[in-house]
């Protein structure tokens, strides 16, 4: 956190809808969550609430809807404190979208769920159902009104949860990571819906590109303190501020030159390309994997899988992975990506040829696949169950039958690889999202898998966590299979992309070809390029900003000399802002400002200054 702890000036807004004064809140364990928060929010504002994991964002929006009560200070809504009857009434006007939609869909069917809010408002059943159907229609789920929430995909659940709020016609929408783990199509749907929303909107997200499109004001929290309150454009354009708060996502905006893309492109699909042109001997941790011949590490031929109820999940999968390759799998939610991973890990058994290192995987071999393949799950809570970090990393090594000395050595190495040195005695449950993700990675890396599988590694991470994870994964010399909707990670980490759709691999092509092929995005409903426009705008903002400095200008403008007002060319020295479009070669390095001499600027008190008359 940078030094900026003077009392934060409250941005004045006309007739604030929310007024927060000196808000303090501590968690039950007495650790401070929010300290001296002062904030006014006007009706109709669209606010991005940003900050690192653990900065107090979720706690703040829970205060805004009265789920938590302040320890000190006051939260006012419509000029009344959020307490008692006013709180009960206000909750019906303030909609809170939770991060996990399963938390929010507690009724038997989508219709019941969407109608729950209106019924609580006292609307009769018929009208409530009409409002619910209308809201479901808005989120394109009216054709599933009588379906149980547990039968929906994640994206559908997320939209259904939003429908439950929209049916209440709320004045305020509080959104906690609305687009986390969504595929681009679902994300775009959310963007369209929220873009049309007319009320006050307060959105928490680590995705600043999404926030840039959605919001116009940004509030930055850091360790429970309100650090900044400015426009979203100001937020994204100030890299140093972003960096100070762990929010610098600018690494995502770097445009790789076409030459360098070509240089990391693989050989024709199925070839024995190795990451960054390294030699054919690659290492996972310090183990040596030698791709001595052309035998693929994994080879699937006409592989099929049906769920127990008979539904075809995978059909005719042909996939060859050579040791050292870095492959990404993309596709919409439900395309069969996770099922394919389950088959590779031996958790599911399909039909067809499955060879590992040239040897066909039989029933008995399937149970030993874990020794050669490791996977980091999308939700790392699914694979962290031990009471300490050390125990977590040791778990797999004990199953492998390693000696104690070997286990200790590998634990140290794995934790060092993911920058978790000194965390051995920590409880995984109490660690931040980014630390837990790295711990999950360490627990897999310690086992030195031949194939490392990462399922949505960036889910729920803040930009600093993402950048660190990217750096760690880039440094790994391992055969990689990455499943992600995050096109930046796909581009940065892999050289070959498999496009999956309805249980089939539609395309298998070099990553740069995939990136340049908009047809593929449209083919399976994924618009991977939709964020490019915002990214370009932010890139411009980050390089177009004001510098204030003293300089001379020979120029003309209206000014006064006592009673006389006139304009003429003259030269004088004064300080004013210049807006420049330029490149920053490095944070602290010198850089040039392209001359931009013709611009408007103020001359306060200029009539009393001396200047030449030409």
């Amino acid at each position: 956190m940078h030094e900026a702890l003077e009392p934060f000036p409250i941005k004045s807004v006309n007739a604030p809808l929310f007024s927060i004064r000196s808000l303090d809140y501590t968690y039950p364990d007495q650790s401070p969550a929010l300290t001296n928060i002062n904030l006014d929010i006007a009706a109709g504002e669209r606010i991005a609430l940003v900050g690192q994991n653990g900065s107090g964002k979720t706690t703040l929006i829970k205060q805004l809807c009265g789920l938590l009560q302040p320890i000190g200070g006051e939260v006012m809504y419509k000029r009344e404190p959020l307490r008692g009857d006013h709180l009960e009434r206000s909750r019906l006007e303030i909609g809170l979208l939770f991060q996990d939609p399963d938390d929010q869909l507690f009724c038997h069917t989508l219709l019941d769920d969407a109608a729950f809010g209106p019924r609580q408002k006292g609307v009769c059943r018929q009208d409530a159902e009409a409002a619910a159907l209308n809201a479901l229609n808005l989120v394109s789920l009216s054709d599933m009104a009588y379906k149980g929430p547990h039968n929906l995909s994640f994206g559908q659940k997320k939209r259904a949860a939003l429908a439950g709020l929209l049916a209440m016609n709320p004045d305020v929408l509080l959104l906690d990571e609305p687009t986390a783990n969504l595929d681009p199509r679902q994300e775009q749907l959310f963007m369209d819906l929220l873009g049309r929303y007319q009320g006050t909107l307060i959105c928490i997200s680590h995705d600043l590109i999404f926030l840039y499109e959605l919001c116009n004001r940004a509030v930055v929290l850091d360790k429970g303190h309100l650090q900044h309150d400015y426009t979203i454009k100001e937020l994204v354009s100030q890299r140093n501020e972003l960096k100070a708060h762990g929010l610098d996502f600018s690494f995502r905006l770097i445009v790789t030159a076409p030459d360098s893309q070509e240089s990391c492109s693989p050989e024709p699909v199925g070839g024995s390309q190795h990451h960054n042109g390294k030699a054919s001997t690659i290492t996972a941790a310090d183990s040596t994997i030698t791709a001595a011949d052309d035998t693929p590490l994994v080879d699937l031929k006409d592989y099929n899988y049906r769920y127990p109820d008979g539904t075809q999940a995978l059909g005719g999968i042909d996939l060859s992975i050579t040791a050292g390759e870095r492959i990404s799998i993309v596709g919409e939610n439900g395309a069969g990506k996770t099922t394919l991973l389950s088959c590779l890990l031996g958790l599911r058994q399909g039909s067809g040829l499955f060879c590992l290192e040239g040897k066909q995987v039989t029933g008995r071999d399937r149970k030993k696949l874990w020794q050669k393949m490791g996977m980091v799950f999308q939700d790392c809570a699914d694979q962290l169950f031990c009471s300490s970090v050390e125990e977590e990393v040791r778990f797999g090594l004990i199953q492998l039958g390693c000696s104690k000395a070997e286990i200790n050595r590998r634990v140290e190495q794995a934790l060092a690889m993911v920058h978790l040195e000194g965390f051995k005695k920590r409880v995984p449950l109490h660690m931040s999202g980014g630390e837990r993700k790295r711990l999950a990675l360490a627990s897999v890396l310690a086992m030195r898998p031949r194939l490392l599988i990462l399922d949505e590694p960036t889910a729920g991470l803040d930009p600093r966590g993402e950048a660190l994870l990217l750096e760690i994964i880039k440094d790994l010399d391992v055969t990689l299979l990455l499943v992600s909707h995050d096109m930046f990670f796909v581009r940065e980490l892999t050289t070959r992309t498999l496009v999956m759709h309805q249980g089939k691999i539609l395309e298998d092509l070099p990553v740069h070809s995939f990136m340049n092929d908009t047809r593929l995005g449209n083919l399976n409903g994924l618009s991977y390029t939709c964020r490019e426009q915002s990214s370009s705008a932010i890139r411009m903002l980050q390089h177009e900003h004001e510098h204030s400095h003293l300089h001379n200008h020979l120029h003309t403008h209206q000014h006064r000399h006592g009673e006389v007002e006139h304009d003429h060319f003259h030269e004088h020295l004064h300080e004013h802002n210049h807006r420049f479009i330029h490149h920053h070669p490095g944070d602290q390095q010198q850089h040039d400002h392209i001359p931009s001499r013709y611009h408007d600027h103020d001359h306060p008190g200029h009539h009393s200054e001396e200047h030449d008359h030409h």
Binding site: K62, C65, L67, R91, L92, L96, F98, D100, D102, D103, Q104, L105, F106, C107, H108, T109, D112, A115, F116, G117, R119, Q120, R125, S142, D143, M144, A145, Y146, G148, P149, H150, G164, M168, P308, D309, G310, T311, S342, L345, L347, W370, Q371, G374, M375, F377, D379, A381, D382, Q383, L384, F385, C386, S387, F395, G396, I398, Q399, L400, L429, V444
Partner: protein, 306 residues
């Protein structure tokens, strides 16, 4: 016990008598399970924009019956069936249940799955009771070879079959009870009958989140498997399973808090909105009367005529 009829049979017939029924029941159940799986596979996605037929929008007598009458009647009928002593009335009860199944037009696949679920329970009775039933006057027992200590009492078989018939008769009624109205409506009916509303809400939420917890447990189990965990009978397994259960409990507890928060945030103040408006009609009472009369006839048949 001179009036006990003992029939001595060769020892080799013992496994035939025991294993053959077990194998037959197992094969039948496997077949039913297979059929139910195939039948339940979605050939094409049903239209979820309209209320499903077996979730309360059906037109059968049971679908349109007042849920309170339905619950009371079926529960009373189930108690009556459970109290039957003789096989013939129990078989009549099965026939009555089958008739109700036909009238209610519920999913046969679900009925079969319910029957499969009680197979183990029934099989245990069919195997154990013939050997464990005390020998009374007039009983007929089969003795295999020299194994006089393991006599096969035919009265035990009769008793087991009677219990099985009663269990099947009651199980067959569960689908008409639970699938002819949405669960919230059934639970609402229960609360209108005096069951505390909090209990109904807890059942409703448990049903909703059972799937979520099952998925979480399944994902965590996969997370352990991919790191080599295999269950063994040792302390390490015990330790890992304890960690697993502890973590599942923590996650479930945290989710419970979040769900409650989500409910409060949408205006929950202790009660769910009524899912329907219940009104008692004459035909509901007539149907209740007819059914309870049938139940009374069953008990009369059992206790007086036999």
């Amino acid at each position: 016990m001179s009036d006990v009829t003992s029939i001595t049979m060769p020892l080799w017939q013992l496994p035939v008598i025991i294993l053959l029924p077990i194998a037959s029941v197992a094969a039948l159940m496997a077949l039913l399970r297979r059929i139910s799986l195939i039948q339940s596979a979605p050939e094409e996605e049903r239209d979820w924009s309209v209320p499903p037929f077996d979730d309360g929008a059906g037109t059968s007598l049971l679908h349109t019956w007042d849920v309170r009458c339905k619950i009371v009647t079926i529960l009373i009928h189930s108690f009556v069936v459970a109290s039957l002593i003789h096989l013939k009335p129990a078989i009549c009860a099965v026939a009555l249940s089958l008739t109700i199944l036909a009238i209610s037009r519920v999913s046969l696949v679900k009925v079969v799955m319910r029957l499969v679920a009680i197979t183990g329970f029934i099989s245990m009775f069919l195997i154990i009771m013939p050997f464990s039933a005390p020998i009374h006057h007039g009983d007929t027992v089969l003795i295999f070879g020299n194994m006089g200590w393991a006599s096969f009492n035919l009265r035990g078989v009769l008793l087991a079959v009677t219990i099985a018939a009663k269990a099947v008769a009651i199980t067959l009624l569960m689908e008409p009870l639970l699938s002819t109205a949405p669960l919230p409506v059934t639970l609402y009916g229960l609360s209108r009958l005096g069951v505390p509303e909090m209990v109904s809400q807890m059942v409703l939420l448990s049903y909703r989140y059972l799937h979520v917890f099952r998925h979480e447990a399944s994902r965590m189990s996969s997370g352990m498997k991919v790191r080599g965990f295999r269950k063994q009978s040792d302390m390490a397994t015990l330790h890992a399973v304890a960690n697993f259960l502890g973590m599942l409990f923590v996650r479930s507890f945290e989710r419970t808090e979040r769900v409650f928060d989500a409910m409060r945030a949408r205006g929950y103040r202790g009660s769910f909105p009524d899912p329907v408006e219940l009104s008692l009609r004459g035909r509901d009472l007539i149907l209740t009367g007819v059914w309870l009369t049938a139940a009374t006839l069953l008990i009369l048949f059992d206790r007086i005529l036999l």
